[in-house]
């Protein structure tokens, strides 16, 4: 958070570009390189492991589809956390907002049976965004009015949200049968798989469209990422968001309501996280159950860090995490490397991104010292 506030100085024209693109790329590459050493030290064939990882993530349209599938919720949670960071807020509770978004889609979807998809899908998507925003609203209010730290409150709200879902799926919303989950959504409430939009002939002619499990959520994700980018860059809303993130005191002096901006920022962040829940429910599971999210809200923090909180950077960052996740299975199948080694690589990515912040911090301090000596 404090780093986000300090990340203002622009020293050279090429610096921001390099920082934004070069350093994350180097961080990711370093992480994968060191990850391969760990694989090697653990007694596995690192070359085979990484060629299997690559094959599992990009080896064919089905594999690319799996990467896209896994990246889709991460784009939303990455956007959510990133948007918060840009206002100097650390929305660590994206997971809870995601659960509420998923719950809204899964529960409301059951009532909208028999309506056409072009009505149901937008309604559910908007409802889950609102649910996510609502879940962030109380922490936002607490932050704005009495200064309660959002890291604590959003996290606590994550627990509340998760346990509400946990209770609903074994209780009031439980489907019949042994498994604690809600009733499946009707087909018109689902986000279709991309390959299902094309006829068998088209798929034969254009095999790269046979993207397996990837669903239309990715299209929504990319559109939303562009919209968030436009908002941040060109609107008053986005300007105020960034201004408060850079320097709340100066913003206040300049006439921006820090409180109101904080509330808006956290709610928008919550709405984006809520969308992650809706795509998982509508595109993947078609219902909600206790463990439907594999910590996408938390991985979103890493995605936002890697993307340097840039809405468009979130897309490749999420794709990287999606690819690592998708390739892990093949890596285990073909090179017998435990899938969980991927979590180490993900952690290393975060480590190097964070380390870069540390390095830059030192560089900046040196600069300041040099300047003060010169002055």
């Amino acid at each position: 958070m404090s780093e986000a506030r300090e990340a203002i100085p622009v020293q050279r024209p090429w610096m921001p570009v390099l920082q934004k693109i070069g350093v994350p790329v180097i961080s990711a590459a370093l992480a994968i390189a060191i990850g391969s050493i760990i694989v090697w030290i653990s007694g596995y064939d690192a070359a085979a492991a990484f060629s299997a990882l690559f094959k599992g993530a990009f080896g064919g349209p089905k594999q690319i589809g799996d990467t896209i599938l896994r990246a889709t919720p991460l784009i939303f949670t990455g956007l959510a956390v990133g948007y918060g960071f840009r206002a100097g807020l650390f929305n660590i509770g994206a997971e809870g907002q995601l659960f509420m978004g998923g719950l809204a889609a899964a529960s409301l979807g059951v009532f909208l049976v028999g309506q056409p998809w072009f009505l149901v899908v937008p309604v559910l998507v908007v409802a889950s965004a609102l649910a996510g925003a609502a879940w962030a609203f109380v922490p936002a209010l607490l932050k704005a009015r009495i200064g309660a730290h959002e890291v604590i409150t959003t996290m606590m709200f994550t627990y509340i949200g998760r346990y509400i879902v946990s209770w609903l799926v074994v209780g009031p919303l439980k489907d019949e049968g042994m498994i604690p989950q809600t009733v499946a959504l009707a087909p018109e409430a689902q986000l279709p798989r991309i390959q299902s939009l094309f006829s068998a002939d088209t798929l034969d002619a254009l095999p790269f469209l046979a993207l397996g499990r990837a669903h239309m959520g990715i299209v929504i994700a990319i559109v939303v990422a562009v919209v968030v980018w436009l908002i941040l860059k060109y609107t008053t809303l986005g300007y105020e968001n960034r201004a408060v993130g850079f320097n709340p005191y100066a913003s206040e002096t300049a006439g921006i309501s820090v409180q109101w901006t904080t509330v808006k920022a956290l709610c928008i962040s919550g709405a984006l996280a809520g969308l992650a829940g809706s795509v998982e429910v509508m595109g993947v599971h078609h219902r909600i159950f206790d463990q439907f999210s594999s910590g996408f809200g938390f991985t979103g923090i890493a995605v936002a860090l890697l993307a340097k909180n840039h809405p468009l950077g979130v897309i490749p960052a999420a794709l990287l995490f999606g690819a690592l996740s998708a390739g892990a299975g093949t890596m285990q199948l073909e090179a017998s490397v435990p899938q969980k080694i991927i979590l180490i690589i993900q952690a290393l990515v975060i480590f190097f991104v964070a380390a870069e912040e540390i390095v830059l911090w030192f560089v900046r301090r040196r600069q300041k010292e040099a300047m003060s000596h010169a002055g």
Binding site: Q11, R12, M15, L18, G22, I26, A29, L30, A33, I34, S36, I37, V39, W40, D45, A46, A47, A48, G56, D66, L69, R70, Y163, S166, V170, G177, M178, I179, P180, R213, V284, H285, D290, Q291, F292, S294, G295, S325, A326, A328, G329, T330, Q332, L333, P338, Q339, K340, I342, L343, V359, V363, R366, Q367
Partner: protein
């Protein structure tokens, strides 16, 4: 500044190159070993390739994932079957893991845990020539090439309840406190775990009608710290025998029992054997023989008698559930308790006792 940043970048890049190079060298040397090993191990061409997909608990849960793996290993040793395990790190992996194994020619493929029920229902029709086994999976309409492997956990838990209900009245160990209270730790509050709880309570009440059974749920099957917390809370409330049906959560409960002095009844595996150092509190375990079910299914695939589209239920009579030996408590446990267990076992198998499932 400019030069400093360039230097920094240069160092980073150099480091990356070095780092990327090392494993490449390592990789070049490696292949000899792995290719050697299987060649020695495999006496003949395997008759089939069996595989399993773990749930997110993964191998090392000392519980049903490990047990299913035991079944696979037994098949590898006795039936000349090639085996493979794919662990799932998240829910999204279930379908892709099954998909990859099916594509790679594995059959039968076992999906371990009820969380994968939907995955099997979706994937089985896509790979109609592959055989699937779903551990703990109940299908309304079983896919034609899948068999649901279910267990009468309530029957085994009834025996555990008989032991606990009588032990809490007894004084054969100084950890037994004389208060007529026993405890149950559940993973998630779901019908499957309710079966353990219902059987346990029924068994305890059958021999000790006044016993107070306190049930607590962790909300998951992985959080050991939560398991410890729940164990401590039960002991605080005077429970002196605790039964945990909660996967890895129970490992934390064992710690609580060791620290605060209570006896523990393990679950799924004979946890006296699978959790080293737990002998001082491990009274017995309710074994759910996932290994038996998995092995039997592989055997049926080898013999050509695999029956898809069915549900197979393993109870006391089928050897699918049972009570583990008392091990360190073998001499301490009074004969009366052992007799009561034997009587209950005979009555359940004989049909005189109908154990409730919920």
């Amino acid at each position: 500044m400019n030069s400093k940043m360039s230097k920094l970048l240069a160092v980073l890049l150099a480091l990356m190159l070095v780092v990327a190079f090392v494993p490449a060298c390592g990789g070049a040397e490696e292949p000899e070993e792995p290719t050697d090993e299987p060649a020695v191990e495999e006496p003949a061409e395997p008759v089939l390739k069996a595989a399993m997909v773990t749930d997110v608990g993964g191998l090392g849960d000392k519980s049903f994932n490990d047990l299913a793996y035991e079944g696979l290993k037994k098949a590898e040793a006795e039936l000349n079957v090639e085996i493979k395990v794919l662990e799932s790190k998240e829910i999204t992996d279930y379908e892709s893991n099954i998909d990859q194994l099916a594509t790679a020619g594995y059959s039968p493929i076992f999906a371990v845990g009820f969380l994968m029920t939907d995955a099997i229902i979706k994937m089985a029709p896509e790979y109609s020539d592959v055989q699937f086994g779903g551990v703990d999976q109940f299908y309304e309409e079983p896919p034609a090439n899948a068999v649901g492997l279910l267990f009468k956990e309530h029957e085994g838990s009834y025996l555990a309840g008989v032991v606990a209900g009588l032990a809490t009245l007894d004084t054969f160990d100084d950890k037994l406190n004389g208060d007529n209270v026993i405890g149950f730790v559940g993973g998630m509050d779901v019908p499957l775990i309710k079966k353990f709880e219902a059987g346990f309570i029924a068994g305890a009440k059958s021999v000790n009608p006044d016993v107070k059974v306190i049930s607590l749920y962790a909300g998951n099957f992985t959080d050991q710290a939560k398991g410890k917390e729940l164990g401590l809370s039960l002991i605080e409330q005077k429970a002196d025998v605790i039964y945990a049906a909660a996967g890895a959560v129970g490992l934390g409960t064992i710690q609580a029992c060791q620290e605060k002095g209570a006896l523990f009844i393990g679950v799924d595996a004979d946890q006296y054997l699978t959790v080293p150092g737990s002998g001082d509190v491990m009274l017995t375990s309710m074994m759910k023989r996932v290994d038996v079910a998995v092995f039997d299914t592989i055997k049926s695939a080898v013999d050509g008698t695999f029956e898809g589209g069915t549900l197979k239920t393993y109870g006391l009579a089928e050897g699918g559930v049972d009570l583990a030996p008392f091990h360190d408590f073998e001499d301490a446990v009074p004969q009366a308790i052992k007799d009561a267990v034997e009587k209950a076992r005979a009555d359940i198998i004989g049909g005189t006792i109908e154990v409730p499932e919920s």
